[in-house]
């Protein structure tokens, strides 16, 4: 069975690193893997997404996730979760980090950041988990590891604990940040039980 993980956010939030670690782990386990990225233009601030699809027994065909096709939607930003919600399966999960990043119409003061997004998300998928990613990350010492916390959530939800993720982190993260990232990953694995 092909499984689909959709990671979305705003340019510069670290979605790319999270999906890269995820695909490396899946590759190492011998799964077929495809990943598709839309990273917009050079400038900061656009909406970004990365589709990760894998299959433990057969081949992955399309690199792109279909509407209603994602087992899990992981959003690094609150409003982005709603933008991409059509892609998640009704029986799937939405994990949203409630960090808010204002787009141009909000910055110029023309619009306000919308409220009640998490309530909307609850209409879409069976499991909805909202976490304050940067605050969780701050608790273990560095707000920049939100992406690896979210990787931990994905691994737990998708039942991928058989893969040696600590090894993947050790091989791909700068030595000084390995312990921090392993802590972040372990924290992520516990969040679904809250």
């Amino acid at each position: 069975m092909t499984k689909s993980v959709l990671l979305v956010g705003v340019g510069g939030q670290g979605t790319i690193t999270a999906s890269k670690l995820l695909t490396l782990g899946l590759l190492e386990s011998g799964y077929d893997v495809k990943m598709n990225e839309i990273h917009g233009m050079s400038q900061r601030g656009g909406s970004v997404s990365s589709d990760v699809r894998y299959n433990d027994t057969g081949k992955v065909h399309s690199p792109v996730i279909s509407l209603g096709g994602a087992d899990i939607l992981v959003s690094f930003e609150e409003m982005e979760a709603l933008r991409w919600c059509d892609y998640v399966k009704p029986e799937g999960a939405i994990i949203v980090s409630t960090e808010r990043i204002a787009g141009l119409p909000i910055m110029t003061g023309r619009m306000e950041y919308p409220e009640g997004i998490v309530d909307e998300l609850k209409k879409v998928a069976k499991t909805v988990l909202a976490i304050d990613g940067p605050a969780e990350a701050e608790k273990i010492g560095n707000s920049r590891v939100t992406n690896v916390i979210l990787l931990g959530v994905i691994v737990k939800y998708m039942g991928l604990e058989n893969i040696d993720w600590h090894k993947i982190i050790r091989e791909n993260i700068k030595p000084a940040f390995i312990d921090l990232n392993i802590k972040a990953f372990e924290l992520g694995k516990t969040l679904l039980d809250r």
């Binding site: 705003v10 695909t23 490396l24 590759l27 077929d32 893997v33 495809k34 990943m35 598709n36 990225e37 839309i38 990273h39 917009g40 233009m41 050079s42 400038q43 900061r44 601030g45 656009g46 909406s47 992955v60 065909h61 399309s62 690199p63 792109v64 279909s66 509407l67 209603g68 409003m79 982005e80 709603l82 933008r83 919600c85 059509d86 009704p90 204002a102 787009g103 141009l104 119409p105 909000i106 910055m107 110029t108 003061g109 023309r110 619009m111 306000e112 950041y113 919308p114 009640g116 997004i117 909307e120 998300l121 209409k123 879409v124």
Partner: protein, 598 residues
Amino acid sequence: MRRLLTGNEAVARGVWEAGAGYAAAYPGTPSTEILENIAMYDKKDITAEWAPNEKVAVESSLGASMAGIRSFVSMKCVGVNASADPWMCMSYSGCNAGMVIAVADEPGQQSSGQTAQDNRTFFKFAKYPFFEPSDSQEAKDMVKEAFRISEASDTAVAVRLTTRVCHSKTIVELEDRQEYEPRNYERNPAKYVPVPGHSPALLEKVMSKADRLREYSENTPFNREEIYDTKIGIICSGVSYCYAKEVFGENASYLKIGFLNPIPMNKIRAFAQKVDKLYIIEETDPIIEDEVRLAGIPCHGKDVLPKTGELLPDVLREKILGVEIPKVDVDRGKILPRPPMLCSGCPHRGFFYELGKLKNVMVSSDIGCYTLAWGEPFHTGDAGICMGSSLSVGHGFKKGMDKKNGNTKVVSVLGDSTFLHTGVQSLMTAVYNNSDTVNVILDNRITAMTGQQENPSSGLTAQGDAAVETDIPALCRALGVKHIVTVNPNDLPAVRTALKEALAREGEGPSVIITRWPCVLKKLSQADKEEFPSLYADKYDIDKDKCIGCKQCLKVGCPAITFNSETKTAEINDDCKGCTVCCQVCPKQAMYIKEARA
């Protein structure tokens, strides 16, 4: 070794494995990373160059092939338009050592959105055989095969990519580099000098080439059948194959077309006889479909499928299987647009803030990060058709308005890379044919929009060697421009003065304003650090007690400034790069230095 590579990385790997020794490109999404990756291989193996434009890249690559070295070019879809001349003529001459050109089309117009042109039509028109990979492994295999076919048929061979193939990572088996024995060069004017005496024979050769390639097309495993259930038969190419397999799996049979021009019509006819109903799925134009219909084979294609955009699995499900696309019921009013915006500290910001304030000015813009100034909050830029067009469109607009005795002033703007791409000749016409236009070269020291590639005026080559810099002011002077000023775009009074003075001149021909300040994402060279010592200076914040909430600073559209609706004051976040543009627009001088430069 198995690796996950993007299509672009795989193409680069294929070029290297094929033993190629020369590659040239001009950046353009989604093709840019191909040359960036080739540039990472050992310079002793392969030379990788950024050319000033695609025409130059194709011509240099032909030269390398003539010399006997396998050569490669990559470009985005519209790059074909900029280089059509050598493409057309080279198809008659052919080449010597293998020559491969990768072209990345954008059926979904995800990034630049200028055109969704399907260059397979161009390849047919210009008489090039081409490959169409569906994933990264095929991209690498087909590039290597394309070099072989190029040599066997004495023609450059194209590889047609699309955004999803370029940017998707799929598993690739790596191989070693083949040692390539360079070919001899022998002078052969009958081949490379297409005077009337030579051309008919060359055209004859092109035609007989096509016959030999037809045989290849019928026999190559890159055009292959997969027979499962035969109620539905699908002929598909490129990534459409992956989409079709995703939707139909083993409930349909496939004829996957990986090589075209000529088309394997016997194979197609045989396949059509095996299946009950035939569909042709290709992005975007009906290239295969038209030929199949012409051959009298009944099929479905663009009669049921959309004529534009990508043919994603959702589209195939809806249009062929009639499956309704699930839409969930949420309040979509809560999804606000998130358009791309100039980075905090972008050197274009100060210039466009001032330009946007001018009335009765037509702004002829171009293609680059500064194109974004057309929208919120600057609303500046009346046109921006294709690279290098701003100065010539502005020139013609001015001539047209003069004919009508209109008094509209024209300011034409373009970046350093775009100026050197094709803008130089446009400035030449403004001088030669004498228009009173103001021509602005936004010199941010790099080709920014496509991800900070070096260019002839940035001081480094693609492989990181120091390079002679094109001197832009000297170049403008040599073209005959009389008034040239260089300003720091973050210095608003200086920008204002430069624009005012230039616009006030009448009857003195075109003038040039050069704004010179590096893109914030540029990796700074030693020369940059010396020239711009105050770069990445202090971080600023806003004094809540001084701020009166007038929102003037929000009009510079900086991602580092937000408005706190509770305290009714503006705030600056950690993204501040210290460009000081906002400090210059605040009527209360509310900004202060929070963190001084080390």
